[in-house]
């Protein structure tokens, strides 16, 4: 035949015997006149021509070609319905040197798997997708496919496909060609020898592109299904050439490697660096147990007041002193409504519940938090309130109240941001739960900006001084709202 190479032997990319098949190991499970056999042959020959067989991984779909792994002597992975592009993505990324092919039918790719194919194409995955479109579900017995033609009678479109009910046939090549990342998209047909030769070139080209790291390619192959269409194989092939090709025009929809911008470089780290094993605040060499005390603290206020950070600093300080610590934030919708709180436990024993319903100490950074949480403080506990005095008519009869105008003090220091450190210092001074050195060490280790660190030192001193000079030892809150 002019211009055609006649091949008389089976490609070595096929097994000699189809042992996985069980019975009839010399023939395929495909029906006489089915297009899958031809597509398999074209792929196998392309793999041999390109010398790719050993490196190839075939991803088989759900559909008639679910058993493609019976035939191809390559690495085989059979996957869930429609998900071949997702599995292929991960296979390829796991082994970039491999050649990964996803083999899918029209139901698999164009119905249940539309998300997966669109996104694999859009990511420009360096894989080759062979999409066999015969306009009908074969394996499940002839149901409508997204590519069924208008008026096509199937078991689930018994009156013929209607635009008003099922929409129009889905054009996958055209759809994917709207994306910028795919490299190669072509639609071919198996209706005659000339088109089969074109299909062969397209299959080979797709694999060649992948071999050269060229990116995503998809070849849609219009294919006959004589059994479901209830046609003689020759008639079915003719039907592909007339009806299918008319609805799905053949041609190249994309054929250039996209010029994608190089992304930022990702820093390379050792496992030790990634796990930050050397970066944490060092624990002191010999902690003195009587310099620390067990405490449960609830810190509450507005988002933006450094509520959560204050709790973390306190937990870090406890950790440095070899204590057991836990920090539990409020999270979820509350965080969006503008209020925030967290629970911190400092303990010399293993900590049970990190949730503190009745704290020993409440740090209320705003009035709302004071009103909401002060009643829950344990009898004999402590409330630190960010103000000069309690709101009129409000008292906390069961606990000592210390009013520390932390925000005012912070403003005077030059930054409202350090109000949380002022309050933290007040807590340490008032409760003596942790030594000052630990607080300073934690701030030094966590605050990288030297200006801010200096401010934090000042805030720490100011908070301590305020409690030291302004608050009387042993004072308790009085019903009129003042601390004496």
């Amino acid at each position: 035949m002019n211009g055609y190479e006649v091949i008389h032997e089976k490609s070595p990319a096929f097994y000699d015997l189809y042992e996985r098949k069980g019975e009839l190991q010399q023939q395929t499970h495909y029906c006489p006149g089915c297009g899958h056999g031809i597509v398999h042959k074209l792929i196998a020959e392309a793999l041999t021509d390109l010398g790719l067989q050993d490196r190839t991984i075939l991803v088989s779909p759900v559909g008639c070609s679910v058993f493609a792994y019976y035939y191809f002597d390559v690495g085989n992975v059979q996957v869930a319905h429609g998900r071949a592009p997702a599995a292929a993505t991960a296979l390829k990324r796991s082994h970039p040197e491999s050649i990964v092919m996803a083999y899918q039918g029209d139901g698999d790719l164009a119905a249940i798997g539309t998300a997966e194919i669109v996104h694999a194409a859009n990511r420009g995955e360096n894989i080759s997708v062979f999409f066999v479109n015969n306009s009908v579900y074969g394996m499940t017995g002839g149901q409508m496919a997204p590519t069924s033609l208008m008026g096509e009678v199937t078991t689930t479109s018994p009156w013929g496909r209607r635009a008003s009910n099922e929409g129009l046939p889905l054009h996958v090549c055209e759809l994917l060609a709207a994306l910028e990342t795919p490299t190669y998209i072509e639609r071919v047909a198996l209706n005659d020898m000339k088109n089969i030769m074109k299909a062969k070139r397209a299959v080979k080209k797709a694999l060649e592109i992948q071999k050269n790291g060229g990116g995503f390619s998809l070849v849609e192959i219009l294919s006959p299904c004589p059994t479901i269409m209830k046609m003689d194989p020759v008639v079915a092939r003719k039907w592909v050439g007339e009806a299918l090709v008319k609805a799905f025009p053949l041609g190249v929809f994309r054929d250039h490697k996209p010029d994608l911008p190089a992304g930022p470089k990702i820093p390379v780290k050792t496992v030790a660096q990634a796990l930050e094993v050397e970066e944490s605040v060092p624990e002191i060499a010999s902690p003195r147990r009587h310099h620390t005390r067990d405490l449960t603290v609830k810190i509450a206020g507005f988002g933006g007041q450094g509520i959560l950070l204050m709790g973390q600093l306190l937990a870090e300080m406890g950790l440095r002193e070899h204590m057991e610590v836990s920090w539990l934030p409020s999270y979820g919708p509350e965080m969006r409504s503008g209020s925030a709180h967290c629970h911190v436990s400092l303990s010399h024993e293993r900590i049970g519940s990190p949730l503190i319903s009745q704290p020993e100490v409440l740090i209320a950074m705003n009035e709302l938090s004071l009103l909401k949480f002060a009643p829950s403080v344990v009898s004999g506990g402590l409330v630190l309130y960010n103000h000069t005095k309690l709101p009129a008519g409000f008292s906390v009869p069961q606990a000592r109240v210390v009013c520390v105008p932390a925000s005012e003090i912070a403003d005077r220091l030059g930054s409202a941001k350090v109000a949380n450190v002022v309050m933290l210092a007040a807590l340490l001074e008032e409760t003596e739960c942790l030594p000052t050195e630990s607080a300073i060490a934690v701030l030094e280790a966590t605050v990288k900006n030297p200006k801010l660190l200096e401010l934090d030192r000042q805030a720490m001193k100011a908070g301590r001084d305020y409690v030291d000079t302004e608050i009387e030892v042993g004072a308790v809150s009085q019903p009129d709202g003042y601390s004496y």
Binding site: R20, Q53, D54, R55, I57, V59, S60, G75, N76, V77, Q78, V79, A80, R83, A86, A87, T89, A90, L91, R93, S94, H95, S98, I99, V100, A115, E116, H119, I266, V268, K269, V271, A272, Q273, A274, L275, E276, V277, E278, E279, S280, P282, E283, Q312, A315, L319, E324, V325, S326, L328, Y331, G332, P333, R350, I351, G352, S353, P354, S357, Q358
Partner: protein, 350 residues
């Protein structure tokens, strides 16, 4: 050296130490932090992080990466876990190892993002189709989030099966000291994987077995693994159970609250103890039966309407009365609340 670490972060760190270099996920509160941290860390140590187009894609990417022999993980929450069920069934059916984290949120449906333990049936009983099991770990501290993640990869490879770490927003968001013992962890050689090489060309990953006898043999093979896991892999922790009259049973964040409850009850003169399953499947039935030998009553506490309760009742088989206290909607009972519940049921309990 200890570091203050968040639970969700500890999971990613555990995965990195365990040699996981593949993470495929999809954002969902309250699990997104795991994906976010994986997005940062996994590429830095030379791995692949990919945000998939859905949980359905993510779990099938996990399937692909596991087929390729990688240590791979994903993380999600309730609705996302529901979407993953088909894929998890395929993974179990194809005998692929993987680790999936479920940071359980309130359900059913969209529910809310607060902590619940209402995915117990979905995760522990296997929400997907077919005869398979997930191995399920339930950490209750940041250190366990790390340690059990390392263990999860080991178990996944040993049993060639999905391992689920079932946790909640509290343990995920919590910060506690984390002690990382740096060590080299080698994943076992996976000669069954498909790697795109001449040596692995003969391999096939599949879960389809058309012949009834072949499928039955496959199911029996899986079942034999699960029987072995039931023999070898039960894990639990007990606290003051030896002289306990009342045994509290709870897992995850609830077990932390129950530990405080036990202290409170004992301070008030009631001999209480805590039984905490660390593995939810295989369930530590043997250990529980042993723990209740001198116990007068058991009270199960969960953030659901009574799911693990069924396993406790199955294990005890009517030998000890079993009470239940559950909260849902994101309400996590304080120790005081449970203490009050125990005293309210004292006549039934003791």
């Amino acid at each position: 050296m200890r570091q203050l670490c968040k639970g969700n972060v500890a999971i990613v760190k555990g995965a990195v130490l365990a040699g996981c270099r593949s993470f495929y996920g999809y954002p969902i509160t309250p699990a997104s932090e795991i994906a976010e941290y994986a997005a940062l860390l996994i590429p830095e140590v030379g791995g692949t992080f990919l945000q998939a187009e859905s949980e359905v894609s993510a779990i099938n990417m996990v399937y692909g990466a596991s087929s390729a022999g990688m240590r791979v993980m994903s993380a999600s929450s309730g609705p996302g876990l529901s979407l993953m069920q088909e894929g998890i069934s395929y993974i179990a059916g194809a005998e692929l190892p993987c680790v999936i984290v479920d940071v359980v949120r309130g359900g059913p449906g969209l529910g809310n993002i607060a902590p619940e333990q209402s995915d117990y049936f979905c995760v522990v009983k296997g929400g997907g189709h077919g005869c398979y099991r997930n191995l399920v770990l339930a950490p209750s501290s940041v250190q366990e989030m790390f340690d059990l993640t390392v263990l999860a990869f080991d178990l996944a490879d040993r049993y060639r099966n999905p391992v689920v770490i079932m946790t909640d927003g509290y343990v995920g968001q919590m910060m506690e000291p984390l002690d990382i013992q740096l060590r080299k962890i080698e994943a076992p050689e996976k000669d069954w994987a498909v790697k795109g090489t001449a040596e692995t060309k003969k391999n096939l990953i599949t879960s389809i077995f058309l012949e009834p006898d072949v499928l039955e043999a496959h199911v029996n093979k899986l079942e034999a693994k699960y029987q072995l896991a039931q023999e070898l892999e039960t894990r639990c922790e007990e606290y003051l159970t030896e002289d306990a009259d009342v045994l509290l049973v709870g897992f995850g964040i609830v077990s932390r609250v129950l530990r405080s409850t036990v202290d409170q009850l004992r301070a008030q003169g009631l001999k209480a103890g805590l039984f905490r399953p660390i593995m939810l499947w295989p369930f530590p039935s043997r250990e529980l039966r042993k723990a209740v030998q001198h116990v007068k009553s058991v009270m199960v506490v969960e953030l659901n309407t009574g799911m693990m309760l069924e396993d406790v009742k199955l294990a005890l088989n009517g030998t000890v009365p079993v009470e239940f206290y559950g909260r849902t909607g994101g309400n996590v009972p304080a120790a005081e609340e449970i203490t009050a519940q125990v005293f309210a049921r004292m006549s039934a309990l003791v």
